[in-house]
């Protein structure tokens, strides 16, 4: 299961970085979302991959770590807000700069 988790993260981060390096705001926003998905999954995995274990300390059975889940929740909420903001900002940049190039210059074609 670890290999599959690592592979998922690798694919997400690779696609995210590739898209962030595009020069148009829409792919950049998508790339940021993919990166934040990857980060959320990564945080979730830091509690180790266990299944069917209760998130309680002190029990005799092996337990799942509840803290990464709390961290991931915070990260998801912040990520949502930031994605919404960057979408609005990208739209405003499109309106004010006249095109969707991240530098606002556009390519003469």
């Amino acid at each position: 299961m670890e290999a599959l988790a690592a592979l998922t993260l690798a694919v997400l981060v690779t696609c995210g970085v590739y898209l962030v390096l595009r020069a148009r705001t829409y792919p950049v926003v998508l790339g940021l979302s993919l990166l934040s998905y990857a980060v959320n999954l990564f945080l979730f995995f830091t509690g180790r991959l266990v299944t069917g274990a209760p998130p309680l300390a002190g029990a005799a059975t092996p337990t799942a770590d509840p803290l990464p889940q709390a961290l991931v929740l915070t990260a998801i909420v912040i990520g949502f807000g930031m994605t919404a903001f960057v979408v609005i900002l990208a739209l405003r940049a499109r309106g004010e700069l006249g095109n969707d190039h991240v530098d606002g210059t556009g390519e003469k074609s």
Partner: protein, 496 residues
């Protein structure tokens, strides 16, 4: 438990919510904003009196014991940064109420939330909580950076937002690695666990330490990550740019805290100790080139901020008492002087009509003497000429180096000062002396608009007059930072 510790967080938060409720009543909004910001000052002084004798204030939120709950920790460094923030914020908000706060919506709400984020980042003793406060101050800063609208601001703001979103992702990855290795996020507990980490996790810890350096370096505008700063600061509204003078220092603070406490230079992740000084000197050199090449006064001041970050991190990168003490003396000086210069540049730009702060032939100013004296004061302080505090800070830094490092550090710091001096002299003569045409129609700056800039620049004189007590305080702070076992004992100690 000392409940004053949480006051620097509660006050701006309550003020922000109040101002939001008072929508449409601008006078009351301004009064609340000024009142709350002014209230931070006595609180910061109180906390500094508490921390000044070397005690640690530990505030356990929800009264959970330390490694489990979130703690706020007050030490000398935190108290110094809180006081600096309070002084800066009060003068900036006094400038903003003269009309700049009307150029966009909800200036005061964002301003107070920004103060909440900055104060929280300085106070927190928990790494994930530091991330949360970073996000609060960043979200507020995104709004403030776009305050006043305009294509240039949007362009610079977009770069800033995207870069910082990537930075936040890296921050979370760094924090996640640390948590996976140590199972804790409390900074004091992390320091213990990282020092005792088994050798097989050394590679992960090094990766985490360097990831965090990249994140804090982005906030602080360390060399390869500094490119967002000149455009953003150069185009932001004057009070926003002045407030942002403290933003890079939040990154510097995080570097100082993390790499003295969690990853000390001789500890688990020695790379930062090797990387920080060369990177800082390169930042300084590149900033100096930018200062020389600037075509506008505010871009010039933004590059001076880059130079100051290089100087600060060069002091911290020495990782000895002298270096950190020098950096901590230089930090309030450079923050207040850069902020003062940003406000002054705004006053100058208003009196030059369409020429703004561009270095082109323009009309004479309406108040050449007053503004000229202030500009001279600010330039002397920023370039680091005697007798003002910039000189003292740089002198302390030059004295702190070992002979092996001296050749590089002396050369680059002194050349950087020379470059700043040349650029500021050129800017001053272009704006004040080489003028043509009639005196600008724009009116004279009234006293309430003029006073905050003057007071910010006068802080340099104050820091010069009281250099001895300030230096004693920063030396004690540096000693406290380099002996983190007391911090760890105070945070993890027996529950009172």
């Amino acid at each position: 438990m000392n409940h004053w510790l949480i006051a620097p967080l509660v006050l701006p938060l309550v003020a922000a919510m109040l101002i939001l409720l008072l929508v449409g009543r601008r006078g009351v909004q301004r009064a609340v904003s000024i009142g709350a910001t002014a209230g931070l000052l006595p609180i910061a002084i109180l906390l500094m009196c508490f921390a000044g004798d070397g005690e640690f204030g530990v505030y356990r939120l929800g009264n959970w014991p330390a490694p489990f709950g979130i703690v706020l920790v007050l030490d000398r460094l935190t108290a110094l940064m809180l006081l600096l923030t309070a002084v800066l914020a009060l003068l900036v908000v006094l400038h903003a109420v003269n009309g700049d706060d009307r150029r966009g919506r909800d200036f005061h709400v964002l301003f107070q939330l920004q103060l909440l984020g900055i104060n929280g980042a300085f106070l927190t003793g928990d790494l994930f909580n530091l991330f949360v406060f970073f996000e609060i101050l960043l979200i507020a800063s995104y709004g403030l950076a776009l305050h006043g609208a305009g294509a240039e601001r949007t362009r610079a703001g977009l770069h800033y937002v995207v870069l910082n979103l990537i930075g936040s992702s890296l921050f979370l990855i760094g924090v996640g690695i640390l948590y996976a290795v140590t199972g804790t996020l409390n900074m004091a507990d992390l320091a213990v666990k990282v020092a005792a980490a088994p050798p097989e996790s050394a590679a992960l810890l090094r990766a985490s330490a360097l990831l965090l350096l990249a994140v804090f370096g982005l906030k602080a505008a360390l060399l390869p990550l500094h490119l967002w700063l000149p455009a953003l600061y150069g185009h932001a509204t004057a009070p926003v740019a002045a407030l942002f003078a403290i933003m890079t220092k939040v990154g510097v603070y995080a570097i100082l805290r993390t790499y003295t406490l969690i990853f000390p230079a001789d500890g688990a992740a020695p790379d930062v100790g090797h990387w920080l000084l060369p990177l800082a000197l390169l930042t300084l050199a590149v900033g100096a080139v930018g200062v020389l090449g600037s075509q506008r006064l505010r871009v010039l001041i933004a590059y001076l901020v880059v130079v100051s970050v290089g100087t600060l991190l060069a002091g911290i990168g020495l990782f000895n008492t002298g270096g950190i003490s020098a950096a901590l003396y230089y930090l309030p000086h450079t923050t207040l002087v850069s902020a003062g210069l940003f406000l002054l540049a705004d006053l100058i730009a208003r009196q030059r009509g369409i020429h703004g702060d561009n270095f082109v032939l323009g009309p004479p100013l309406a108040q050449p003497t007053r503004l000229g004296v202030l500009f001279f004061l600010g330039a002397v302080a920023a370039a680091g000429l005697p007798p003002l505090s910039g000189f003292i800070g740089k002198l302390l830094l030059l004295q702190a180096v070992t002979p092996a490092q001296a050749a590089w550090l002396w050369t680059i710091v002194l050349t950087g000062s020379l470059a700043s001096l040349i650029a500021l002299s050129r800017a001053g003569s272009r704006i004040f002396w080489k003028t043509e045409g009639d005196r600008a129609v724009a009116g004279q700056a009234p006293l309430p608009l003029f006073a905050p800039a003057a007071l910010l620049l006068a802080m340099s004189v104050v820091m010069t007059l009281f250099a001895a007590p300030v230096t004693r305080y920063t030396e004690a702070t540096a000693a406290q930072l380099l002996a983190p076992q007391h911090y760890i004992a105070a945070v993890l100690g027996v529950h009172p």
